[in-house]
Structure formats: C-alpha cells, structure tokens
Amino acid sequence: MTDKEKKQSSIDDKLFKVKYVSDEESHLKPDAIQCLVCKSKVCTYICPANVYEWDEENKRLIIGYENCLECGACRIACEKKCIDWAYPKGTKGVTFKHG
C-alpha cells in the first residue's frame, strides 16, 4: 500500500465503525457559488469524517453527508462562512455507543 492508500484505509476503517441512520436529504448545504471562488477549501481537510471532496473536473464539492459526525467544525472553519448547517432530523444521523 502507498502512504496515501494507507491513510485512506485508516479513515475508512474508522468510519466503518460508526453507526448512522441516514436521511435522504443532506443537512449540509454550502453555497456552491462561494465554493467556486474559495481558495483554501478548508472543509476538505478539517472534517474529521472526510465528508467534503473537491471535484476539480466539475468544479463542485462532493458531500458525503451520510458520514457526518455532527461536530460542527466545517461550519465554523469554512473560508466563506457559507455552509447552511443543521443537525440531521431527530431520528437521523449518528449514534455513539461509547462517546
């Protein structure tokens, strides 16, 4: 495995252990126009669940909201402060058994 693959598999292993009930609709809604001009794309590395990935070809964010750990870091760190951020609905999202 290359270093990059190792890192990817390490976060995949972690996320695999988390229990979720996912909603059909994303609770994370960045403003796509702001993302286009955002320089840092800070959401793509700050997120502990690797939810955001920048799709260079289509110039947009891919958002794996099903993996969200509901920490709130992206909302605060976003360069453009443009994420319309909410907790998932009452019955949805992550459940921590250990916390």
């Binding site: 890192k7 390490s10 976060i11 292993d13 972690k14 996320l15 252990k17 988390v18 840092s40 800070v42 590395y45 700050i46 502990p48 669940a49 690797n50 750990l69 509901e70 920490c71 709130g72 870091a73 909302r75 605060i76 760190a77 402060k81 909410a86 907790y87 609905k89 009452g90 019955t91 999202g93 992550v94 459940t95 921590f96 058994k97 250990h98 916390g99």
Partner: protein
C-alpha cells in the same frame, strides 16, 4: 393552553439534565427535549466526570451510576522529536476525585434518574428554533409541533444555534474552539490493568504534549474504561485550518507514537467520534440570559480548557439556572431583570471565578505558541539529558553551560517576551 408547561430545557446532556432535575425537585413542571434517540447518544468527551460536582446533583451516584474506573494515576508526557520527559502522579489511597465514564451510558442514566423525579423526557426530537413574541422567548418549535413555556433553558451544547438565533451569542471563531477526535479501543480488563499498572477498578489518565502534536496548541490523551481505552486529541481549530492538517492523521500519529503504541497494541477499534470543545474562556462568554431564557453548559461556552473541565461547569450552571427558574416561577416574573439572578449566582460560584483566573492564558499562549510548544519543551528535555548524563564533566560546569545555552540559542528579546508572557500567566492565575 395546549402544549404549555412551566419550563422547557433543550438538550439532554449534563447541563440540561441538571437544570431539569433541579426544577422538578421543586415540584414544577419541566419538559426536557433531546434530539438523540436517548441522552448521550450524540455526546462525546475524554473523559472523566468529577465526584464533588456530580454529588451536588446526584448525592448517591457512586452507588448506582454506570462508572468505568476510579482515576488513581495521572501521567503527563512531554515529547520532543527525540526525547521524553514525563511526570507520574499516583494517588491510590485518596478518596476518588474523578471516574471515567462512557457518555452513552452515563448521560442515559442521569436522564433516567431525572425522569424518576418527574422530568418529562422527550427524545428523538430536534428543536429547530425558539419561538419569540414581543422580544420574549415563549417556547420552541420542533419538526412537528410548537411547545410553549414560561422559561426556556438552552443546554444544546457547543454549537448552540439557538443562542445564536436570539442574538445571545455571536458567531464562533475557529480560535475559540478545539476539535476533538477520538477512538475507543477494546483491550480487555487484564491488558488494561497490566499496561497501565492498575488494580481492579482503578483508572489512569495520560496526557501528551509537544512534538507528537506537531508543535500545535493541543494535546493527546488516553483514558481507561472497564474493557476499553479512549485515545484522542484536542487541537485548536484555528491551527488545524492554518496548517491544512487532517485531524485523524494526527490521531494516527499519536497512536503509533512510541509513548502510546505499546498501550494500544493488539486492540480492536470499536468506535470513532468527533466533537468540538469551547476554548474561548471568560472573554468569549455569551450573554447568559434574556427575557424568558437562560443559557447553560457548553452552549454558554462554560469550559475551563486549561484543566479540561466541562461536565462539572455544565452540571453546576444547570443547577443554578434551575434555581433561578424556580424563583422566577414563584414570582411569576420571567423578565431579564429577574433572570439576571442566574448571572449573579454564576459569578459567586467557582465557574466564573475560575474562568476569570485564566482569562488571559489562551491569548498569551496563542501569541507565544512557537516558543511554548517548540523551544521550551526541547530545552526541558535537554536539561534532563544534561542532568542524567554521566560523562565526567563536573556538574557545576554543566549547569553553567546549560544556562549559557539558553542565552545563546535564543535572542534576548525573545527571551524577555517569553518571560513576560510567562509572568502574565502566573500573575493572572495567582492575583
């Protein structure tokens, strides 16, 4: 009126539960709303809860609460690239000061106790916004319904979008929170007690600073539970953003670090989680009350991050808010004027006093981060290296050389600035 009660508490963590149970004990009607499927299902911490503050809410909790291990051993590890300095502190015989707990069990237990004392607990219900009428908070709006109350207590945690909605809180800055990521690793009782040098039921807390944190403001930690250990990091969000680092890669770094890797060896990953920690301290406290509303715990940013205390401030602020609500209900007056009593109570308690004591520390540490996290840890390790070396150089000569090296390694102006920063911290804490 339908759907009307005396007090609504939003958020079933330690702050909300303590507020609700205090109100219920006075015979008032209180509804506690939690978005998770049970209390604790959304909550993450290090961590350990503290005995004395927990007893203020649950006097006999040690008899029936789900506790993991009684903390008897503390270890502080300072690492540079090549060297380690550590301080061990073992207090086996003392009465216990803290216990490790698992939040999904402990918060759930607290909520069940509150139900026994008359709190109406509503789970799987997310409060979307506060209902405001003529500048007064009069209730909450969930996904399905509107509920009304004389007083609403906000205990919705660090992200408190509700406190923000009514202007009690400003937008949080990355500098004012730390991001915590954590793994729970199953090792089994025997391995834990052997590796951490513990007897049955005893627990340990390890903290690591310096190089493994890549010189960032933050720390790594390990707590022992019955069958598992919690290993995690907490790092200023500001630094993570600036350095473009992925939080879980730093956690992997800590796990494979020589100080920690023997502790986690052959363990099985059972959970991964993340949560924010308020770090702004006294200067970033929001407005704590308004007409018909009080803010408690993490929603009020009440965390003493120098000592990693949060649950205790949450519980006691919840209790003080509950007491204030009872007085307001007896007077039938829910104005900001009456609810200001909550702030007075907080100011008299250890909560605001402690936060004031440390009010400048984070600013100074942020300011001098490079030297406090880079230069000095190295220097301390060098000192021990010198101190323990057996090399036929006279000791006094070595001390002189060491002291001289401080002045040659570092410009006088930097040393003076560090000295000032250090003095400010010490004087700030002691005055």
């Amino acid at each position: 009126m339908r759907n009307k009660t005396e007090v609504i508490v939003v958020g079933g963590g330690p702050a909300g539960i303590s507020a609700a149970i205090t109100v219920a004990r006075a015979g008032k009607k209180v509804v506690l709303i939690e978005r998770g499927s049970y209390s604790g299902s959304k909550n993450v911490f290090g961590g350990a809860i503290y005995v004395q503050p927990t007893k203020e809410i649950f006097p006999n909790f040690e008899e029936s609460a789900p506790l993991e291990r009684k903390t008897v051993s503390h270890k502080y590890i300072l690492r540079t690239e090549t060297k380690t300095v550590s301080v061990d502190y073992m207090a086996r015989e003392e009465a216990s000061n803290s216990y490790s707990v698992i939040r999904s069990k402990f918060d759930r237990w607290m909520a069940q106790e509150a139900q026994k004392e008359g709190v109406v607990l509503v789970t799987e219900t997310f409060v979307k916004e506060l209902l405001v009428k003529e500048n007064k908070v009069v209730g909450v709006k969930t996904e399905l319904e509107e509920y009304f109350a004389d007083i609403v207590i906000l205990a919705d945690g660090v992200n408190s979008l509700l406190a923000k909605q009514i202007g009690l809180r400003k937008e949080i800055k990355p500098k004012d929170v730390a991001l915590g990521v954590k793994e729970v690793i199953k090792l089994g009782k025997d391995k834990i007690e052997e590796r951490f040098n513990l007897k049955d039921g005893e627990g340990a807390v390890y903290e690591i600073f310096g190089d493994p944190m890549l010189g960032m403001l933050g720390l790594g930690y390990v707590y022992t539970n019955k069958e598992t250990i919690s290993i995690g990091i907490g790092i200023s969000l500001d630094e993570l953003a600036k350095r473009k680092l992925k939080p879980y890669e730093i956690l992997d770094g800590i796990k494979s670090h020589p100080s920690f890797s023997p502790l986690v060896k052959d363990g099985e990953l059972v959970e991964y989680s993340a949560h924010l920690i308020p770090e702004g301290g006294y200067k970033k406290l929001p407005k704590l009350y308004s007409h018909g509303v009080l803010v408690v715990g993490d929603s009020a940013m009440l965390v003493n991050n120098i000592h990693w205390e949060g649950t205790n401030l949450a519980m006691i602020s919840g209790k003080l808010a509950g007491e204030t609500a009872i007085i307001a209900l007896d007077k039938n007056d829910f104005s900001a004027n009456t609810l200001a009593l909550y702030q007075k109570k907080l100011e008299k308690s250890f909560i605001i006093k402690d936060l004031k004591t440390y009010k400048n520390v984070m600013d100074i540490v942020h300011d001098r981060a490079k030297s406090f996290l880079g230069y000095y840890p190295n220097k301390i390790a060098d000192f021990f290296n010198m101190f323990t070396a057996v090399d036929s150089i006279p000791k006094r000569e070595k001390y002189h050389r060491f002291i001289a090296s401080i002045f040659t390694d570092r410009s006088i102006s930097e040393l003076v600035k560090d000295g000032f920063a250090f003095l400010k911290i010490v004087l700030g804490v002691l005055k």
